[in-house]
Symmetry: none
Subunit: 214 residues, 4 copies
DNA sequence: AATGAATGAGAATTCATTCAT
DNA sequence: TATGAATGAATTCTCATTCAT
């Protein structure tokens, strides 16, 4: 009996500790799911609360500015997570093509899994320009890092100045995002997602060549 | 007396006719300008009325469903106008490259002049899927027409089946729109608009080759 | 029949015209009455709407910032009205005592009729310091005017510099208000209102003498 | 083992005893400071907890009815303390003027140090009429005591019936409070606080004479 | 005893839409 | 036709209060 209560105590304590992050994740999930169904501006904090079966007060505890905060905080977490998943360390001269495909696939999967968030983000930047600024900075930092690594291990990239390389990568990153967003969230204009990914893979090669010269 | 009233009727009818379109245009202009400033969901019909110095009743007279109607009606007018401006008749074997550049430039100018509307349209389709369907149909009709014309005058296109050609054009059209939107309304990722247009021009060539094979 | 409709049209037009000010007055009346019953911070705009049987939207049409605006606009109207009711023109050497009593009585009646407003005003200045500033300015303007008039017609006041006179009047005005507020809105510490007014009348004489010397 | 626990109990009890009053004082201080900054109705118990760096649960432990209780309990403590500081025993025929000045100065200092509380108290009585009643009783008890003492030692006061004397003192007490509150918490209408205190001192003399006759 | 997560009623405010004039 | 006053449902957000840990 006492053993049992001991276990319960530990478990419930653990459960409680987890609850905080669980609740935050539940809010994220519910919010972005509702956005997919009803659109950003028809999804209210009250809808989220009701749908997630938590109180509206809980949402405002974790996200004091409401919808804006949910998006901003998810942005901060997800950007970090996404870029951390990309393994820049093992890039070398021989696996660049493979790396690019992997990168495109990660971006693709990220878009697919975060459609609600991406719609929300694009709605939110209309009235919160700082959000866009933050994103720009994160993207710049990542590609600066990537450019430096590639110029160390790869002869072909060494010939391009670092700044130019960063600029190229940012353009390509934006192109991929533009196309993924349009295809996944506006209108599917490729037959299959495989065709889309394959196209993007070739587009990147085309862009690397084109941007280098222009 | 009756003469008098007759004259007044004619005059006021004329005046009204002019006023009607003027008022509609004023509503369009004000609505899309406000959207650029404050975002779609923070722009209300009441704001538009106040800003345009007309009454809210007038807006609902011309657009009984409010914002949704403004967007839908502008969509209908502007799509028609846009495609009518594209001269498909004089395309021939020699000026295709030139035609494509012209087409891209028209799309580019269209985006630039209609940023507010484009933001509104993308917000509206979140809760009105018919809007997207209508657009798809308009686009399909236009490119079917274009494919037929090109296959008549141009040997190279004759080798591609009509359906395939239409599909290719629609993909390219979507790609251009995706990139224009991202660059003009989300984040400027090309240094200058000239670079953007130039890139798109080359991208189209790349795509025509790529899509033909895949 | 047509006569009848004619009359109705005129009446209802009048009624409509009046409605605007009538509605504003209804909001004032309802708001200040509720404050007397439940206190300032327990009186919400929604209560006012329900109690006055008008919609909440109507309140925000006339008072876009809600409670704050109701108080500020009533303040502006009532200050002007109050000071306009005081007839400074006919003050002369002989009727000063009488004038002072009249002034005290007006202030007293004003407090009595506006208890709800006065409570609201004192609550509102806690978070809106501009309200107090505006009041100070109105009061200063009025007493500057009064001082100038008195120094023209009255030998005894002529011996006091204008600035000093204004300062004295403002102190006396504040003293009367402080006492009226405490007695009427906090705790009745005089047996009867007559005793209060009589006391104030003598207090003013005392103050005029005291302040002149100090 | 049992010894050990015994020691711990004593120690923690001591520690707790000190902590308890410290915590209550911290709540008082934080609450009244916040009220001065933001006004009564914009100061919530949650704000107090956050600002004082204690938990909201602790506030509700000591003050189960929240803000209302904080004010009521502070009122009970501070009224008692204030009147206890006034030394009625040593009043005699010769030092009455001095005593009155001392009393005014104590009231003045009390207002100055308790501005936040006084604002809170005046807000709270709007919805808690008992608070006012309690205050009236405390005041009455004190001045009844004072009247009795003065009539024993002072010939001049002996001529006034006890009830009349109590009534006079209560009026004067309210007048001073009304003026102090208006000057210190609403609008400074005396140049300096010294002028205010000096004025009040003379006002009391005037009132004693005036009220005796009326 | 102390904590602070959670609750949900309710306050402030907005906005699409109607309708009398 | 044109106006704009009026409506009230819906949204954002706050806050007193409870209760599990």
């Amino acid at each position: 009996m006492s053993n049992c209560s001991f276990i319960i105590t530990i478990m419930s304590h653990k459960k409680f500790s987890r609850n905080k992050q669980e609740k935050i994740d539940l809010i994220y999930k519910t919010f972005f799911t509702l956005i997919l169904k009803r659109g950003y501006h028809k999804t209210s904090t009250n809808h989220v609360a009701k749908s997630a079966k938590i109180s509206i007060g809980t949402i405002y505890k974790y996200f004091p500015k409401g919808k804006e905060d949910i998006i901003r905080k998810y942005f901060e977490e997800s950007m970090k997570n996404f870029f951390e998943r990309i393994d820049l360390i093992s890039i070398n001269n021989e696996n660049i093509r493979e790396f690019l495909n992997h990168f495109i696939l990660e971006l693709y999967k990220n878009h697919l899994e975060n459609k609600g968030y991406i719609i929300a983000f694009r709605s939110a930047i209309q009235s919160d320009k700082n959000l866009l600024k933050s994103q720009k900075e994160e993207v710049f930092t990542f590609f600066k890092d990537m450019a430096q690594k590639l110029r160390k291990t790869n002869e072909s990239f060494k010939q391009v100045p670092e700044d130019k390389l960063v600029e190229m990568f940012i353009i390509i990153y934006n192109l991929i995002n533009a196309i993924l967003y349009h295809h996944l969230s506006i209108m599917e204009f490729f037959d299959t997602n495989e065709k889309l990914v394959n196209f993007l893979s070739n587009l990147v090669i085309f862009c690397l060549n084109y941007l280098r010269k222009n």
